[in-house]
């Protein structure tokens, strides 16, 4: 029987492309022969815009890159600015932004897991359970800085305002409640036969391939590489904190799911330790001017964002805005292996794999 290959454009408008991603996929029946990712539908020129803004204004641009993880974007950018201009942040500011960043990691991983399960076809039930937990984090952010998603909370030297008094009991309540909710999610998903059958041994990413493609973040750890920048190259006060790094054993979609789920538990522990160590004080040193004017030079500080290694490469010519700003976006680099991972699998696996990579198109295109 003679058959024909079918080439299909999936996206940019499609329910499970997490934004505006497009793939030109060639199928043989149900089997994927080729998948060519096409990006650029959400390009907003953030890096170029940054050259026209002051160092403080750029914080708002970083919010909009990975819009599920604004706090960590802020953190990566601010660390780079602080290194460039030699600002020493205040203690309380650093603890506050670590709390914010870890809460943001929980929120981002909740979204990642939820949408991964949604790509499996679970009719939104686990997604909504996880979004409900994320909602609580967004409410905490609202208390901290007045914004829920595009926070712009961090400033060179710390954060722009202290968290109000009612924030701390709410945070404690969340920390007490969240492990139980995670147990619920695990009961529902982790040993679900259908999820295991759909995700195990699908789109296996080997250790060597992952390292060669400079994959970072949970995706790398799911392949069994113990590489977490909070541990390997501690920034902020992460060396004062102890936490475990969950690693996958096989490197398939199921491991990527499990690693994220267990990272949420570790993040909760980190927040608890931060709460023990935080002390009253100024959230930002008095001497940091509103208009930061770093000396000539360049800086790059990588951090462990929810999706992988995120860093802002800033070049200063001594002016009030950077001469050049480049973002090392984990989503973009993690996405490069999609083609190699899905070839030979079925149509349905394409979307699950894409979901398990956990990209954010705002960050891919910037």
């Amino acid at each position: 029987m003679s058959t024909e290959l079918v080439t299909m454009n999936i996206g940019p408008i499609h329910p499970s492309t997490h934004g505006v991603f497009r793939m030109r996929v060639t199928f043989d029946g149900e089997t994927i022969i080729d998948a060519e990712p096409i990006i650029g539908y959400l390009h907003r020129g953030s890096e170029k815009l940054a050259e026209e803004r002051t160092y403080t204004q750029i914080v708002t641009l970083t919010d909009r890159m990975d819009y599920t993880a604004s706090m960590t974007n802020n953190q990566a950018y601010i660390l780079s600015v602080e290194k460039l201009s030699g600002i020493t942040p205040s203690d309380r500011g650093v603890w506050l932004r670590m709390i914010a960043a870890e809460l943001q990691r929980i929120a981002a991983h909740s979204v990642a897991i939820g949408f991964l399960i949604n790509d499996l076809g679970a009719w939104h039930t686990p997604l909504l359970y996880l979004l409900r937990e994320r909602e609580k984090i967004l409410e905490l952010f609202e208390m901290m800085c007045g914004a829920r998603i595009t926070n712009s909370y961090l400033r060179p030297g710390g954060v722009f305002m202290d968290a109000p008094d009612e924030f701390w009991p709410s945070l404690n309540k969340f920390l007490d409640d969240m492990p139980n909710r995670l147990d619920d999610i695990e009961n529902l998903l982790t040993d679900n036969e259908i999820i295991l059958a759909r995700t195990q041994n699908v789109a296996i990413l080997k250790k060597e391939d992952a390292i060669n493609a400079s994959i970072t973040g949970p995706m790398l750890r799911a392949s069994g590489v113990d590489w977490d920048l909070r541990h390997r190259n501690p920034y902020d006060y992460y060396e004062k904190i102890s936490f475990r790094r969950p690693l996958g054993t096989v490197g398939d979609n199921n491991d990527r799911y499990l690693v994220r789920l267990h990272e949420i538990r570790e993040s909760l522990k980190i927040v608890e330790q931060c709460l023990d160590l935080i002390e009253p004080g100024p959230v930002k040193p008095e001497e940091v001017p509103f208009l930061v004017r770093p000396p000539e030079g360049e800086s790059y500080v990588p951090i462990e964002a929810p999706k992988g290694e995120l860093g802002f490469y800033l070049v200063s010519d001594g002016g009030i805005s950077p001469f050049r700003c480049h973002v090392r976006a984990p989503s973009l680099i993690n996405l490069t292996l999609l083609r190699d991972m899905v070839i030979g699998y079925k149509i349905a696996d394409l979307f699950v794999t894409f979901g398990s990579i956990d990209v954010n198109m705002g960050e891919v295109d910037r």
Binding site: I117, G121, I194, Q200, R244, R245, T249, K346, D349
Partner: protein, 405 residues
Amino acid sequence: MGPIRESFIFEFLYCHLSLEASCSSVRILNIAFIPENLSWISFTLTAFFWIFVFINAALVGVLMLIWGERRLIGKFQARLGPNRWGPLGLFTPVADAIKVMFKEDIEPTLSDKLIYVLAPILMVVPVFMIFPVIPYGTKTFLTNISVGVVFVLAITSINSLSVLMAGWASGNRFAIIGGIRAVAMLLSYEIPMGISAAGVVIVAGSLSLSEVVNNQVIPNAIFQPLGFITFLIASTAELNRSPFDITEAESELVAGYMTDYSSMKFGLFYLGEFMATIASSAIIVTFYFSGWRGPSFIPSEIWFLAKWIGVIAIFIWFRATFPRLRIDQIMSLAWKGLFELSLINVLVLALMIAIWPDPSGIQLLIMTLINWVVFFLSIYIFGKILSPNLTGNKITKRSVVYGLD
């Protein structure tokens, strides 16, 4: 006019129209006016009335199901569900229907016009034909055809043709993949469904749905659990509902075979799907939950309705809980799992009926016990021992390891 006159609801109306002599015992009010030699007029009028009632009841049932499914899934998903329009959001499906009707009707240029229009009609019309043959109560049924079991199985399988037509005629690649998947899947699941239904027929000793209900002393769901499970899974697949919704798989194929349909054509698909859910639930109640039977202090129609709603709720529960299976897993589940399980069920039942052709109460209980033993044994063998080799994907329960400091 033979079998249809057995139906009480038909007879009742007919006798209040016709002056036939045989009717006088049924008549409560003396309002009949059509003479006996014109009985075909009263027959036609009665038939039209009941067709009208059944179609409208089915449509209202669909509206209720849409509302009920949304409310119930809302509860499953820790949210409210529709609650704006009318009390408890009851009018939301009405608003939906109005919205769908007033949408622009788009015909894709690449479509095959005739088949494109016919497909949604073929989706809806056959489902209407199931409702009249279902016995809703001791006397409440419209017609009792002697091959009811075969009839409902035949009618429910027509929708795979409609899905293929829609997928083919749309001229869209998402749609054609959905259509091809539908044919592969729906045809495979016909077989375990038919074989499980054979178990019901063996126990009832008749193909008539009324007899199936009459002879169910113990509900078949308890009497032959293996047949019930295979039938339930197969009909979930027949209905294209989660976890077997690969034909319209939202996260993969946008909307599968109905991607290119808009306006009322899409509305008909929507209607057809929900109506098929209602019809299939009625079939399951009749086959496996002993239809209208129940303690007599509650009218038989209420029993039927309660069981009906219960089975529909099971389908909604499935949808809220399970992720979707992949096409190859669905096929191997049908051919390497359900097919054999339904065969085992039929073989065991046939053997036992051959030994005790007319079982007494205690013999029925022994047969139930044997069936349950067979059920657990075969589910264990297929689910735990054979399944890793059957699906080709060895599942192991895993956890993460932790990085060393």
